[in-house]
């Protein structure tokens, strides 16, 4: 009933929208408004007629809470990251980065990885910053090393790790080393195998251009990046909430027995849970049935690859890039944490 009613409405509105079709953008605009209106109607219908009971199911309620929690928690860091990327775009001249980073890309990669220490935030902040770095002439390999290491090696996250694992400073050291190693290896891997055509051209970040107000450029870049990345953040939060509510505790226990499977399992869990890098140490500490190496894999993979991050990367750099890069990063991160964890833990 409801559906046919809406279909009729849609057809009618389509005709209305098509009528003043003298300019294409006008029609497209009308259509996007129509889409929004339709979506609103459908959502309201769901909420009012079908959804009331359904939205209040315990599982759905928990899903809504977790989804909102991930979004709210990430919001300040996303703002920090996009403001920083807008500022880099508008205020920092290209030559600054040329002077700061070694000229040879092979050397620039580890330097950029270590530079990740300065961005005190979680992973949401690093994606827009890396994007604007690339646009400002930093070699992509170095920007990716920064992107990967920044959320894992900054002092806030390392302190949280030390607090979560009292009495085992080896865990902090192993996390630092394995994260830096993964970031550097991925940077070099990009130098070796990466193709520029996988990257969506970062047209937005043209830098400061003469005759334009820097403040205006900053605000435009900031606003664009925030809205864009924010939309993808919501996609990621929804995915993470789904896994968070759907993965039952009993699954965890079946995997904790085998050392090899448990490493792979916790790495996969880090990808689907998308816990913020400032909190993942506490989650890892609570997974007490697993070996230290498996928990290290959780800590190294989590800030570098997770569903929220894949959504953000797909939005910023393009889907072709996000899929290849995340898959390769996950493999490298697991190998690095097994090697370094095997020695240190």
């Amino acid at each position: 009933m409801q559906e046919t009613h809406e279909r009729v409405e849609e057809a009618g509105a389509e005709a209305v929208a098509a009528a003043p079709a003298d300019d294409a953008p006008g029609r497209e605009r009308a259509r996007s408004w129509l889409l929004v209106a339709l979506a609103a109607v459908v959502l309201l219908d769901l909420a009012l007629f079908v959804g009331r009971g359904w939205l209040e199911e315990p599982a759905v309620r928990a899903w809504r809470t977790v989804c909102l929690a991930v979004t709210v928690q990430a919001m300040p860091f996303l703002l920090l990251g996009t403001a920083l990327s807008g500022a880099i775009n508008a205020f920092v001249p290209t030559r600054v980065f040329q002077r700061l980073l070694p000229r040879r890309a092979v050397l620039a990669v580890p330097v950029a990885g270590v530079a990740g220490v300065v961005l005190p935030g979680c992973e949401c902040a690093s994606v827009p910053v890396a994007n604007s770095l690339i646009a400002r002439g930093v070699t992509p390999a170095a920007a990716f090393a920064f992107l990967l290491s920044a959320p894992a090696v900054n002092p806030v996250v390392l302190t949280a790790t030390a607090v979560a694992f009292p009495g085992s400073p080896a865990m902090v050291a192993a996390r630092l080393l394995a994260s830096l190693a993964t970031a550097a290896v991925m940077g070099w891997l990009w130098l070796w195998l990466g193709r520029p055509q996988w990257l969506r051209p970062a047209v937005r970040h043209t830098g400061h251009r003469p005759g334009h107000s820097r403040l205006r450029e900053f605000r435009d870049g900031f606003q664009h990046d925030f809205l864009h990345a924010g939309g993808f953040l919501v996609v990621g939060a929804m995915a993470a909430a789904t896994f968070n509510v759907a993965v039952p505790q009993s699954v965890l226990e079946t995997f904790s027995g085998s050392p090899w499977l448990s490493v792979l399992f916790l790495a996969a869990l880090a990808v689907v849970l998308a816990v913020c890098s400032e909190a993942d140490a506490f989650v890892a500490a609570s997974l007490s049935g697993f070996s230290p190496v498996a928990r290290l894999a959780f800590l190294v993979v989590g800030p570098m690859v997770d569903v929220k991050l894949i959504a953000l990367q797909a939005g910023t750099f393009g889907r072709a890039f996000a899929v290849r890069f995340s898959a390769a990063t996950a493999v490298v991160a697991v190998v690095c944490s097994v090697l370094i964890g095997g020695v240190l833990l």
Partner: protein, 270 residues
């Protein structure tokens, strides 16, 4: 997404964050107390950004603000072409890069949810599935104060039962507050007094729980204060001892504002 729509979205997002963090305690259902200043700052920043965008959209609509290419028509909202073009890209890529893609509309979902239909804090559904909080080891235990009933957190009670070789908890009447989580079907008698703790946001929730015997289970998710003594079993002071109480009384308690902490019970006014 057109410019005025961006302004509206930014303003709403700012309002949503301020609503959750400044005017109400909603944010405590999702994140830790420590995040609040950051959320207030973010909300204010988004409001500023939205206001600036609305102001410049408005300026562009008035005749003196127009920059020539604009064919605004009589309908206010149907005006002109996307202005991102003019100051974003006049170096020709064919399509509109400055326009924010539609995916940004998704931000409306959490924002409206915060403003109109905020989901509650996590409760018994999550507690029955979340990973149990690892209670860290404590080597030295101070003697317990002599007040009776003795207010304790669920974590402290767990430690006293499973780690304190001095067995100071034996025979003591304790008082703890938490919410009710039913035991799974076939899990035996009693129910759980539960707290959910988070270290960053509700996505990393873990639960602390104490089993309660000797009192009928109130409905799930009710906040209660339980007074009782340790439920004997195993060897007290080792992990064989059950983390459980025999309840003397179960009284309804107000839901704490900051529910994601393992706090002491509030003093009762009786």
């Amino acid at each position: 997404m057109r410019r005025p729509a961006q302004a509206i979205l930014l303003l709403l997002a700012g309002l949503g964050l301020l609503h959750a963090s400044l005017w109400t305690d909603l944010c405590l259902r999702y994140v830790k107390e420590g995040m609040r200043p950051l959320l207030v700052a973010s909300g204010a920043l988004l409001l500023l950004l939205g206001a600036a965008e609305a102001w410049s959209s408005f300026r562009r609509r008035t005749p003196e603000g127009r920059d020539g290419q604009d064919h605004g028509d009589e309908h206010g909202h149907e005006h002109g072409h996307d202005h991102g073009h003019e100051h974003g890209h006049d170096h020709g890529h064919g399509h509109d890069h400055a326009g924010v893609p539609r995916v940004a509309w998704l931000l409306l979902l959490p924002v409206l949810s915060l403003l109109l239909y905020a989901p509650p804090a996590l409760g018994s559904y999550t507690a029955s599935r979340a990973a149990p909080e690892t209670v860290s080891r404590q080597e030295h235990f101070d003697p317990l104060p002599s007040t009776s009933p003795l207010p304790l957190t669920l974590t402290d009670f767990t430690r006293r039962v499973q780690q304190d070789r001095g067995q100071a908890i034996r025979g003591r009447t304790v008082r703890m507050t938490g919410f009710v989580t039913p035991v799974r079907r076939g899990g035996g008698a009693g129910w759980y007094l539960t707290r959910i703790v988070i270290s960053c946001c509700a996505a990393d929730a873990r639960s602390v729980r104490v089993r309660v015997y000797g009192a009928a289970a109130p409905p799930a998710d009710t906040w209660v204060t339980v007074t009782g003594t340790w439920h004997p079993g195993g060897r007290l002071g080792t992990s064989s001892a059950p983390v459980a109480v025999d309840a003397h009384s179960v009284v309804k308690a107000p839901r704490p504002v900051n529910a994601y902490t393992d706090a002491l019970p509030l003093p009762t006014t009786r």
